[in-house]
C-alpha cells in the first residue's frame, strides 16, 4: 500500500537534480520526514525543535512531533527509551506528523530499534547511526551493535555509520552533551538550510547560559555541517516560500497558554499532571506579565473549586488538567453547572482509563466531557483541531462561558500538546478580553436566577453588587436561589440550564465540508486528527474518489447542518482515537458493538447509520493509515 504514499515525496521520477557548489547533486523534494532519536537527556528533542524552528523561519511547512519515553530517565540504550523528535518538512503547509520517516538520526542502535519496531520508518530509508558502539569496550554492546547494524542493512535500510562522538571530542571534552548540535549541523547541510538562522537559533536556545556555551555549541554546529558536506553523498532541498505575514511557531500547549493570556482571564488553578503541565509551566512563567496568577492547588479537586470561587467573585477563571484530573474534577464541575458559574476547563487528553498512557495521545475523554458529573449537567464541549486552534479555542471558550454562565470544556490531546506548527501571528483584539467585573447596584428585588424563558440565560450576580445578596447553592434552587422544596422548581432549573445549550447552538455556524458537498463517503473527525484526515481525504480526492470530510470543533452542542451534510453521502464514518469494538471480533455484532465517541453521539442525535474506525496506539493516527481505511470503506458493500 505504501507505494501510493510517495506521490509528493522522495519520488525520484519527479525530483529535480541540481548540482551544489561542492559537486554533490541536490535533490529537490516536496517534503521529507526526519527523526532524531537518542537516549533521554542527550538532546535529540532540542535538536529536532531547532531544526523545525529554522525550517519554519525559512518558510517551510513544518510539523514537529515529540518522541517521549514514559519515564524521566529510562535505562540508556533501551528500545523503550527512545527520546527525540520527528520533524516533517515541506514546501507546502504541513498539518500533521505524516507517515513513516524518510531519514533517521540515531544516537544508538537500540533507540533506533524502538522506532523500527514501532513501524515508524519507511522501508529502505536513510539511517545516520552513531558508530562509536562498534568499538565499545563492553564486547556485548559492540556485538549487539554490529548485529543490529547488519540486520538493518540486510533489511534494505541505507545505514550510514557516523563517528559523531569522535568528531565532537575534537571540540569539547564531554561530547555526550553537544552531540545534538553536531547533528543539527549535519541536518543543516543535508537539507540545505541557512546556517545563519541556525546560529541565531542556538543563540536563542542558550540565551540563559554563559557565552562560552553558546560558542562551543556553534562550533559543534559548524563541525557537523562541514562533516556532512565532506562525507555524505546526498543533499536535499525543500523549496520554501516565506510567509507574507509574521508566523508564530509554538506547540499546542504553548498556544493554549497564549490563548489564556489573550482571553483576559486572570486566574488559572491547576495541579501538575502529564501532558497538561507544560501549558501550566509556560503560563506560570508568563501569566504575571498580563497580571494573571497560576495557582498550584493541593489537588485536582481543589484546583477546580478554586477556579470556581475565583470565577464566582470575578472574571471567568480556568483550570487545566488531563484525564485523571478531569475525572477528579467531575463533582466540582457539576457544582459550576448547577450554580451557573462560568468556567473554562482545559483537558489535554492522554491515554486512559486510570493512569493509562500519560505521555501518549488519545481522544478518550469526549463522553466524560459531555456527560460527566452526576445528574443532568449540560456543559459546552469544544475540541481544538490544530495548534492555531488551541490559541483561539481558549478565547472562544472564555466568551461562551461568560455569555452563557456555563462550563466550557476545551479538549486537546498530547498529540497537539507537544507538536509544533507555524501559524499566522494573532492580531490582538480588545474584544477577546473579559469585561470588567460588574459591581453596579442591582435593582431592588432582582432575582439571582431570573432565567430568560427562551434562552435560559440569567444575569450573573457578583459579590460586591449591592442588592444582589443571595446564597448560591449546589442544591436544586428556584429563581431566588432558595432551596427548591417544591417539585416544579427542580424541573424549572433543569429546563433552563439545558436551554442554554440550545441557545449556544443557535450561535454556531454549520461546519464546513472539506471537499465536495456530496459523494460516496463522508469522514467525520474531531480534535487533533484534522490534519491527518484531510490529508488522506485529499489524496483520495486527487485520485478521483468521491470522499469528503467534516471536522467538528463543537461537540456539545453540535452545530446545525450536520444531518443535512451526512444525508448527501452514501456512507458516513468517523475516524477517532478512542476505542470502538472491532467488527471482526467473533462476538461483536450490531447489537453489542460499542462505537467510538462521536460516532455514538451522531448516531444517537441524527439517526444516521454512522460507522467508525479507530486506532488507539498512543500516537497520532497517520494519514496513510486513514487513507487505507477509507479505501477499504469505499470498497465495502452496502
Amino acid at each position: 500500500m505504501n507505494d501510493t504514499l510517495t506521490v509528493n515525496r522522495l519520488d525520484h521520477a519527479s525530483s529535480q537534480l541540481a548540482t551544489a557548489s561542492g559537486g554533490k547533486p541536490v535533490i529537490t523534494l516536496a517534503e521529507h520526514i526526519v527523526e532524531i532519536v537518542s537516549d533521554s537527556g542527550e538532546g535529540a528533542q532540542r535538536c529536532g525543535q531547532s531544526l523545525g524552528a529554522i525550517a519554519a523561519k525559512m518558510g517551510n511547512g513544518v510539523w514537529t512531533v515529540e518522541i517521549i519515553p514514559a519515564e524521566i530517565q529510562p535505562p540508556p540504550r533501551s528500545i523503550a527509551g527512545a527520546s527525540g523528535n520527528r520533524v516533517r518538512l515541506g514546501s507546502h503547509r504541513i498539518d500533521n506528523g505524516g507517515d513513516e520517516a524518510d531519514l533517521v538520526v540515531a544516537f544508538n542502535e537500540q533507540v533506533l530499534l524502538g522506532r523500527v519496531r514501532a513501524a515508524e520508518l519507511k522501508p529502505g530509508c536513510i539511517i545516520l547511526l552513531e558508530s562509536m558502539w562498534r568499538e565499545h569496550q563492553d564486547s556485548k554492546i559492540a556485538e549487539t551493535y554490529v548485529q543490529t547494524h547488519d540486520k538493518l542493512a540486510a533489511d534494505g535500510y541505507r545505514v550510514i555509520e557516523i563517528p559523531m562522538e569522535r568528531e565532537c571530542r575534537v571540540l569539547v571534552s564531554d561530547p555526550r552533551r553537544g552531540k545534538n548540535m553536531f547533528v543539527l549541523g549535519m541536518l543543516m547541510s543535508i537539507y540545505s538550510l541557512d546556517m545563519r538562522l541556525a546560529r541565531e537559533q542556538i543563540d536563542y536556545a542558550f540565551r540563559k547560559k554563559a557565552d562560552s556555551i553558546v560558542k562551543s555549541n556553534i562550533a559543534l554546529l559548524e563541525a557537523g555541517y562541514q562533516w556532512a558536506e565532506a562525507n555524505l553523498d546526498f543533499k536535499y532541498r525543500i523549496p520554501a516560500t516565506r510567509a507574507k505575514e509574521p508566523q508564530i511557531v509554538v506547540n499546542g500547549n504553548t498556544a493554549l497558554a497564549l490563548g489564556v493570556l489573550a482571553s483576559g482571564m486572570e486566574i488559572c488553578a491547576m495541579y501538575p499532571i502529564t501532558p497538561a503541565t507544560s501549558a501550566s509551566h509556560y503560563l506560570s512563567d508568563v501569566f504575571e506579565k498580563v497580571g494573571g496568577i497560576v495557582h498550584q492547588a493541593e489537588d485536582e479537586i481543589a484546583a477546580c473549586a478554586f477556579a470556581i470561587g475565583a470565577s464566582y467573585a470575578g472574571k471567568c477563571a480556568l483550570t487545566i488538567t488531563s484525564g485523571p484530573g478531569f475525572s477528579l474534577k467531575q463533582e466540582a464541575l457539576g457544582l459550576a453547572v448547577m450554580t451557573e458559574v462560568p468556567l473554562v476547563v482545559v483537558n489535554v487528553q492522554r491515554g486512559g482509563p486510570s493512569t493509562g498512557q500519560p505521555t501518549k495521545a488519545e481522544q478518550g475523554d469526549l463522553l466524560s466531557a459531555c456527560f460527566g458529573s452526576h445528574g443532568d449537567a449540560p456543559k459546552v464541549v469544544m475540541a481544538a483541531s490544530s495548534i492555531e486552534d488551541c490559541f483561539y479555542s481558549i478565547i472562544t471558550a472564555r466568551r461562551i462561558a461568560e455569555t452563557f454562565n456555563m462550563v466550557v470544556v476545551v479538549l486537546s490531546d498530547s498529540g497537539l500538546a507537544t507538536s509544533q506548527q507555524p501559524f499566522p501571528r494573532p492580531r490582538f483584539n480588545e474584544a477577546w478580553l473579559a469585561p470588567p467585573i460588574d459591581q453596579s447596584a442591582l435593582p431592588t428585588g432582582a432575582k439571582p436566577y431570573d432565567w430568560d424563558p427562551a434562552t435560559g440565560i440569567a444575569r450573573r450576580f457578583v459579590p460586591g453588587q449591592p442588592n444582589g445578596m443571595h446564597t448560591l447553592t449546589g442544591l436544586a434552587h428556584d429563581r431566588l436561589s432558595h432551596v427548591a422544596y417544591d417539585a416544579d422548581a427542580n424541573e424549572e432549573g433543569l429546563r433552563y440550564r439545558s436551554l442554554k445549550l440550545a441557545a449556544v447552538q443557535k450561535t454556531l455556524k454549520p461546519p464546513p465540508v472539506f471537499g465536495a458537498p456530496e459523494g460516496d463517503l463522508l469522514v467525520i473527525g474531531w480534535g487533533s486528527t484534522k490534519g491527518a484526515i484531510e490529508e488522506a481525504v485529499a489524496r483520495h480526492q486527487g485520485e478521483g474518489r468521491r470522499v469528503s470530510s467534516m471536522h467538528l470543533r463543537f461537540l456539545q452542542p453540535m452545530p446545525p447542518g450536520i444531518k443535512e451534510v451526512m444525508q448527501r453521502f452514501r456512507k458516513v464514518m468517523t475516524i477517532e482515537s478512542n476505542w470502538c469494538d472491532r467488527p471482526e471480533d467473533p462476538i461483536i455484532d450490531e447489537t453489542n458493538r460499542r462505537y467510538s465517541a462521536v460516532a455514538m453521539m451522531l448516531r444517537a442525535r441524527y439517526l444516521v447509520d454512522v460507522d467508525c474506525w479507530s486506532e488507539v496506539k498512543g500516537q497520532s493516527i497517520k494519514p496513510g493509515t486513514i487513507y487505507r481505511v477509507l479505501h477499504a470503506k469505499l470498497q465495502e458493500k452496502d
Binding site: 489573550a262 475565583a310 457544582l335
Partner: protein
C-alpha cells in the same frame, strides 16, 4: 483628599446596618443546635463591624453547619462536601476587598476536606474559618465523624467507634504558616462572639473550632462540661481573651496564656478535658498568600496587550529580517 459633608453623611448611612440586615431565611436547624449560637454571634459581629452585606461572603461545604450562608443576608456560596476552603481561597485571591468567612463541620473539614484544611493553614489567606464541631454527622443521620469519641455508638459504628478522635487543634498548630487558632464552646455565646471578633481582625487564616451540641443525635455529649464549669479551661491574656466579670466568676479554671507561644499552645491544644477555651495561638506576622501573589498592575487592555505581544515576539518568524531591521528601515 477632602470629601463633601453630604457624602460623609451618606457614607455613615451606608455603613450603618441593623441586625435584621444580616438575617437571611429562617434557620432550619434543630432547636438547641449549637449552630444557632454561632449564627447569632456572627450576625452581631457583622453589625458591630459594619460589614457591608454585599462585600461579605460566607462559603460552606455540606452538612448541617454548611446551611449557615442561607441564614445570612450577605453573599453566600453553599458548595460541595469538603471543598469550601478552595472555593473561599479562589474568592479571596480574586477579590481581596471581600470579607470571606467559611463555615464547615467536623466531617466536612476534618474528613472529606482534610487536604484542603491542611493547605489552607499553609496558604494563610485572610479569612475566618468556623469549624462547627459537634463530633457527629447530623445531616446524614448520625454516623461517627473523625472527632467522635472512641466508643461512640452510631449508625456506622453500632458497637462503638473504633478509633481515637483526631484533634483539630493540634493538627492545625502543626502546620507551617499557622497564624491563628482558637477554641470556643457554643454554650458560652459571649466567648464565641469575642473569639470570632478577634479572628475577624486577624490578618490571615483564622481557625476557630467551636465545640457545639447536637441535641438530636448526641443530646448528652457535653452535659458533664455544662454542669461543671471547672471542666472548661479559660485561656486569658492581654493579647488574647478577656473575660467579663460575670464569666470570671463562673469559670474559675483560668490560665494566662500568651498566644504567641506556639509550644505552649500545642500543649494546651492537646488537653481535651478540661476543654481549653480562648486564643491558643495568634501570630500576626505570618505572610499571606494573596499578598505574595497579587499583581501590583492594573489589568488594562493595554497592559494585557503589551504582555501578550512581548510573548508572541518570542515565537514569531518575521517575513523579513525581523523587527530590528524593520525598525532600522
Amino acid at each position: 483628599m477632602t470629601i463633601h459633608a453630604t457624602e460623609c453623611v451618606m457614607r455613615m448611612h451606608d455603613d450603618h446596618h441593623d441586625l435584621e440586615e444580616y438575617q437571611g431565611s429562617i434557620p432550619r436547624w434543630c432547636s438547641g443546635c449549637g449552630d444557632n449560637a454561632i449564627l447569632a454571634a456572627m450576625q452581631k459581629l457583622c453589625r458591630n463591624e459594619k460589614l457591608r452585606p454585599e462585600k461579605t461572603v460566607f462559603v460552606s461545604g455540606i452538612g448541617c453547619s454548611s446551611r449557615f450562608p442561607h441564614y445570612m443576608k450577605t453573599y453566600g456560596f453553599h458548595g460541595i462536601h469538603g471543598r469550601a476552603l478552595p472555593v473561599a481561597e479562589g474568592i479571596k485571591l480574586t477579590r481581596p476587598d471581600l470579607h470571606v468567612f467559611v463555615n464547615t463541620g467536623d466531617g466536612d473539614c476534618c474528613s472529606i476536606g482534610a487536604a484542603h484544611w491542611i493547605h489552607a493553614v499553609r496558604y494563610n489567606m485572610n479569612m475566618t474559618l468556623m469549624l462547627h464541631d459537634n463530633h457527629v454527622y447530623g445531616l446524614t443521620k448520625k454516623q461517627a465523624s473523625p472527632t467522635s469519641p472512641k466508643g461512640l455508638r452510631s449508625n456506622t459504628t453500632p458497637r462503638g467507634a473504633y478509633l481515637d478522635p483526631l484533634n483539630p487543634l493540634t493538627i492545625t498548630l502543626g502546620v507551617q504558616n499557622v497564624s491563628f487558632v482558637a477554641q470556643a464552646v457554643d454554650w458560652i455565646p459571649e466567648v464565641v462572639y469575642d473569639i470570632l471578633e478577634k479572628a475577624f481582625h486577624h490578618k490571615g487564616f483564622s481557625f476557630v473550632r467551636i465545640i457545639q451540641r447536637c441535641p438530636e443525635f448526641l443530646p448528652d455529649m457535653f452535659d458533664a462540661w455544662l454542669h461543671d464549669p471547672l471542666r472548661t479551661l479559660m485561656l486569658t491574656h492581654e493579647k488574647g481573651l478577656h473575660l467579663s466579670p460575670g464569666l470570671t466568676k463562673v469559670y474559675k479554671n483560668q490560665k494566662e496564656h500568651d498566644p504567641l507561644n506556639i509550644d505552649r499552645a500545642r500543649e494546651l491544644a492537646s488537653i481535651t478535658d478540661p476543654i481549653p477555651v480562648g486564643i491558643l495561638y495568634h501570630n500576626p506576622e505570618v505572610p499571606r498568600y494573596e499578598e505574595t501573589r497579587l499583581s501590583p498592575h492594573l489589568r488594562t487592555p493595554e497592559y494585557i496587550q503589551a504582555g501578550l505581544e512581548s510573548e508572541l515576539d518570542k515565537f514569531t518568524v518575521w517575513p523579513d529580517e525581523g523587527p530590528a531591521a524593520r525598525a532600522a528601515a
